[in-house]
Amino acid sequence: MKGFKKLIALTLALASLSSVAVGCSQSGTSSTASASKAPAASTGKASSGEIYYLNFKPEIADVYQKISDAYKQETGVTLKVETAAAGTYEQTLKSAMAKADAPVLFQINGPKGYINWKDYCADLKDTELYKHLTDKTMAVTDGDGVYGIPYVVEGYGIIYNNAIMQKYFALSGAKAKSMDEINNFAKLKEVAEDMTAKKGQLGIKGVFSSTSLKHGEDWRWQTHLANLPVYYEFKDNKIDLKSDATKEVKFQYADNFKNIFDLYLKNSVTVPKMLGSKSVDDSMAEFALGQSAMVQNGNWAWSQISGVDGNVVKESDIKFLPIYTGMKDEEKQSICIGTENFFAINKKAPADQQKLAADFINWLYTSDKGKAFVTNDLKFIAPFDTFKDNEKPTDPLAKEVIRYMSDTKLTNVPWNFTVFPSQTFKDNFGAALLQYAQGTKQWNDVTKQFVEQWKSESGK
């Protein structure tokens, strides 16, 4: 009898369990059913359907809501936008792609991202948008195929506050009289050190904002700054970025990295041993409050600077300076311009949905309405020939990027960090930089780690 009771209990448990499982599979089929219903309806003239877009940039999530409404009104197609929280895009994409109803439009962060998502990236060679791409070399390609279309161009360098610089130039015994004279590392160093000596007169706490080396806040150094020596190394050794030759580096310009990094550390608002708890926000706030004259960051930083309470930096005073590291002929070097944002379309999605996604991105970057969103709301510098000169964003740093891009005398530094082996490599390098700043790690060990981990992380 007792055994029988147990049996009943077990059966009941299993029965309810299986009903849960059945429930799941039913909802699964129903969602695919509704998805496959969409194309049937869209055979009419005005297509109605849904595009599921997984957005990378949290700061523009609200704008996409507006775009979605406008697009729905114009074409009847629903644009469903989901945004991953900052720093969690790969995680979110990983779980979203596992769903039956996976994103159709998503983004990859360059050649490395493409390798991870190879099985999901459709060939975009024949899309309308690709034809409008100004610089075809910017796209993520593999053989003949095009798998990622860049949708924004960004630039970074040393942002400086011209008001403080002019104040310095006016001092007697200033090492330079105008920004034009600062066009190499030696001069930058001379000026920065002299400014540090006179920081009382200038009313600043340090020339450079804090070198934020807190875990997760160190990308300006372990990624952006490290791009320069790596760029020169690849360029000098004529390495094809798409080949396996990028799997090893010598870090031959490590000393150049050290030059500028030491300059940042020694002429900073904060003493080096305290940098482990500084965030990017901290250092942008220092710049905005006029405590520092320079900060390394990109054109996306303007909204951050202008948003700081008590911001004293005027729109007309904020400018870019290229990051000089003591390379030969660096007078001709420009700021770093590129992107790590590429549109990709999910190959595994139904064909008609892929078409809808391609139509949408084309609309966004070629129609007047879409372009207005891109310029005024997303504030993107778009890399497409459909944008005329008066259709470019007007914030001061974006204008600076455009100015540097169109300066034919200077050579832009591309964003080669898209071939850095992995996030773990970058994180470990950042941690080593912090230990170097704190004086607990020798520079030799830092460079050794850079070379070794580049190789070991590339092998995976």
Binding site: K2, K5, K214, H215, G216, G276
Partner: protein, 281 residues
């Protein structure tokens, strides 16, 4: 009565059993299965055997370092927390004025979440270290003692309450008898109080031990492993492996299984050891 209970056993336990199966047993079994596979999304797992376990220990020293750090932390924190909590409990069962206020105050830190506590203590500790021109990321020793202070601050009050309950349950006549026999207060403590609160000691050491091993929020908020990964504990290393690296999901899962076995083993040994020391009331 017994019979009725038996009759409705299945009926009354079913909801709990179901919940246990769906939210614990199935994920657990699935998790163990995943530790033997290579996967990107959980749908496309491929069987790889024990290679994840081998990779967890051989590919880098992160896991072993974290294990060592955690063991070091757990031993010291179990001792410190229980000694302090017991001392406080003794003090606050002496009918001094304001006992209840003190009990409440000491218990309060336990009501605050680990992440919040971590950030608060980070501010305090960095503020203190700023006088020496360094911060908590400077050395793993700072992180270690920072975590220790945080854990003590958070758990002492909770353990204290358990000890107070234990001490209050000691029959007064036992202590009285001991005193009449001429025992001094140290002898009373050693031969009457401690043996009588042994069940509380079992619970408290068990709770502190498992809590120290599973520590995550506080670790993440206070140091996030800095410098490098030197102050990362087991749970954090597992999290970083699983979420931080492409192609390491299975390895993270394998580490989690090893972690489970370690904690379960320690808890089991500990219970056997302390249970044997408890006295019947």
């Amino acid at each position: 009565m017994q019979k009725t209970l038996k009759k409705y056993f299945a009926f009354f336990t079913l909801p709990t059993v179901l919940a246990f199966i769906t939210v614990f047993l199935i994920p657990f079994v699935f998790g163990v299965y995943l530790s033997f596979t290579k996967f990107n999304t959980v749908n496309d797992a491929q069987w790889v055997g024990f290679s994840n376990y081998i990779r967890a220990f051989t590919e880098d020293r992160d896991f072993l370092n974290a294990l060592f750090f955690t063991v070091k932390f757990a031993i010291v924190s179990v001792v410190l927390i229980n000694v302090f909590a017991f001392m406080l409990a003794l003090l606050l069962t002496r009918k001094i004025r304001g006992t209840n206020v003190f009990r409440t105050v000491f218990f309060m830190p336990d009501l605050i979440g680990g992440i919040v506590l971590g950030y608060i203590w980070q501010l305090i500790i960095n503020g203190f270290l700023a006088a020496f021109n360094v911060d908590i990321t400077f050395s793993a020793t700072y992180g270690y003692w920072g975590l220790m202070i945080l854990m003590n601050w958070q758990l002492i009050g909770y353990m204290m309450i358990i000890y107070i309950a234990g001490i209050q349950n000691i029959p007064p006549e036992l202590i009285e008898a001991a005193e009449i026999d001429g025992a001094n207060s140290w002898q009373v403590l050693k031969s009457v109080t401690v043996p009588m609160v042994m069940p509380s000691i079992t619970i408290c050491t068990f709770l502190t031990l498992t809590n120290s091993f599973k520590l995550f929020d506080q670790n993440l908020a206070l140091t996030a492993g800095a410098p490098g990964k030197e102050s990362a504990m087991l749970a954090m290393d597992i999290f970083n492996t699983f979420y931080g690296r492409q192609g390491y999901e299975g390895v993270g899962q394998a580490k989690a299984v090893v972690f489970f076995i370690i904690v379960a083993l320690i808890a089991y040994l500990h219970l056997r050891l302390t249970r044997s020391k408890e006295v019947e009331n």
